[in-house]
Symmetry: C2
Subunit: 174 residues, 2 copies
Amino acid sequence: MQSEFVASRSADPKDSRDSRESRNGSPQLDAVSLGIIEQLQEDGRRPYAAIGKAVGLSEAAVRQRVQKLLDQGVMQIVAVTDPLTVGFRRQAMVGINADGDLEPVADALTAMQEVEYVVMTAGSFDILAEIVCEDDDHLLDVINKRIRVLPGVRSTESFVYLKLKKQTYMWGTR
Amino acid sequence: MQSEFVASRSADPKDSRDSRESRNGSPQLDAVSLGIIEQLQEDGRRPYAAIGKAVGLSEAAVRQRVQKLLDQGVMQIVAVTDPLTVGFRRQAMVGINADGDLEPVADALTAMQEVEYVVMTAGSFDILAEIVCEDDDHLLDVINKRIRVLPGVRSTESFVYLKLKKQTYMWGTR
DNA sequence: TTTACATTCTGCGGATTTCGCAGCTATGGG
DNA sequence: CCCATAGCTGCGAAATCCGCAGAATGTAAA
């Protein structure tokens, strides 16, 4: 339950006077930290010394920066897998429309373990949620018995995945 | 350009007689490998010895299994970041409808660096693509000048992200 | 300018981890 | 039965990680 990770972190008051920050509360990253992230996006286990050589820093400095990036929640180093290989054969994106405040709906979705991804959007859906399930029955159950019954939910539309073509984790590498 | 990673790998003929395989060509994972993945989902840099202790294997055996999982493409160990923090302020999911064969369209999307995620779906969209951009201009440019002009593309519908609520990488941890 | 303080970097040992390899065991053909 | 393969263990050498002390650097107040 630890590697759950949300883009807009709530600005923690006690570190809000920390470093340079942009107006949304996110710490500003310099070119060196960006370089470190880039290295770790290629290989999450790359040794600190090798990273240091690439970005022009000592091993210890890289280590400190990486630790800080992890502590701040800017970056995570994790294993990512192919869901199909790990036994989840049905995935779907679900578009949701709801009445009133969307936060409770989004929070309820977030609490479901089958839901990998929740985002509030502008457009003809209020919320998009990605669901990873073991089989059709499981998927049907989640959509009909758990999502469509949430208070406020007016309608849903499902897009069952037929073939995943691309999935990268290369932000910042451009 | 290396940590791009596609769920349904094309069955490479030369390793198709490898190990146990399910009918979609994916190697079957036993409980021990699942346990290793789970450990690395919590912390991608966890030492092999610690993982071994958790799953009941020697350090060397864990190392061999991890290497194999990486080689097979079942798993990747990478840094994942919050796009907002790294300077990408506009994200959107784009639903696409197209005529004829969808593969060329999906391939063209896959080739774009702004596109993080491409999936072919059943439902009222043929393809869903997630786009990560620096600003509104950039986003507009990608959608209008690069996606909507692709041969075969009939229509698109965009869902601009307002707030990302959840994003996990915990497949297999349930 | 000077002083005080906080941040970040470097260098360096000691502890830990990784790495490569040889040997052992179990399984499945031929 | 014998051979080949896959997977595990143990172990020593090399590399890496880790904590810490001291040196730069930057900032803010006096």
